[in-house]
Amino acid sequence: MTAERPTRIPEILRKHEAEMLRHWMRLQQEAVTRRRDLISDQELQAQSQEFLGLLAAAVQAAGFADVQRGAEWAPVRDMLATISRSRSIQGFTPAETAAFVFSLKPALYERIREELGTDANGQFEELRRADELLDRLGLYTAEVHQKSREAVILRQQQDMLELSTPVVKLWDGILALPMIGTLDSARTQVVMETLLQRIIETGAEVAILDITGVPTVDTLTAQHLIKTVTAARLMGAECIISGIRPQIAQTIVHLGVELGDVITKATLADAFAMALRRLSLGVTRVTSPRA
């Protein structure tokens, strides 16, 4: 093969649009990746028709170059991105999403064979181009699908970060911070900022960091805890670390983690009792009037 022959795909796409759409719809309906529970036939038909139209226009305008970036391909990309995003929300798998584009292949190849008949070289050339094009578009949908899943994960992480760092007021001057989940640098930063802000707002003198919900404590976690305690101390509030499970106590000692002069208690109740003592408060039993 010397010079590239001009492609006939745009022409084929235009000429056989209706027939190809019928063929493609049949293929999609028969495919194992068809999710009748998630998307209706009418919707699928509308999406397929729109895609074919846009595809024909884009191939006509720009050929096969720059599918990922070219301006002429932007409508096709936008449409695929919309489909991909909506499908990822509806619960399609990446394979099921990409199958939308890939299932067009047999329909298109059939038309190419019909059109080019005996011209074996021409057929091969067109098939190669169409194959490459649809592969790229299919991969693009998979990519967008993955990105939208990642966006969901990121948002959930953010939500979790905010959810899992509440600062509760146990008593006048006593704050508690029940920590849940792994303590990494980002979490510690949020915890520290919210705690210090609440100390200012409430004028608390004692803060209890409860680590019952922290699955493991390693040297890094301990360092983060110590940082929080130190920062609170600098502002004039005392910190007590509570909720240290037996396994965690063992880990701390085995790792040789130095907690310094930080006060630690086994349970939140112990820490609260100590905080009350610090504020010269106490709990007494009320004698029941019925007795």
Binding site: L196, T230, L234
Partner: protein, 131 residues
């Protein structure tokens, strides 16, 4: 030259930092304060840094130094009103100010300081009686 005023209340000294601390100002404060402690025989120093929004390692070290010098001169130092951002910065800089007492506001700082000064004078009189 600007200076940070040092107020005397009985046997306590009161320092309120209400301007941006620059290095020279910090050094002058260090000089003035040590001078005043030794001249007046003050037993306690209260430093209010509630208006201090920005610290660097130098200012952080200076706070620790002042506390150390005051201790040598037999006075207790209490730092009050540290802003959250300042506290986080100091911790990240690794300046935990060991040996410096802290309180949330001036009122609590005063209580703490009076208590500390009282405790120390008791210690001294106890020692005196024992001898």
């Amino acid at each position: 030259m600007d200076r940070i005023p040092i107020l005397k209340m009985g046997d306590l000294l009161l320092v309120t930092i209400q301007v941006d601390m620059h290095d020279q100002l910090a050094l002058t404060l260090q000089d003035d304060l040590t001078d005043r402690i030794s001249r007046t025989g003050a037993r306690g120093v209260l430093i209010d840094i509630s208006s201090l929004e920005v610290v660097d390692s130098f200012i952080g070290r200076m706070l620790a130094n002042i506390a150390g010098m005051a201790r040598v001169l037999d006075a207790v130092t209490v730092v009050v009103g540290m802003q959250p951002a300042v506290a986080i910065t100091l911790v990240e800089l690794g300046l935990a100010l060991p040996g410096v007492r802290t309180a949330l506001n001036v009122e609590r700082g005063m209580d703490l300081l009076r208590g500390a000064v009282h405790d120390r004078s008791l210690e001294v009189s106890d020692d005196g009686r024992a001898e």
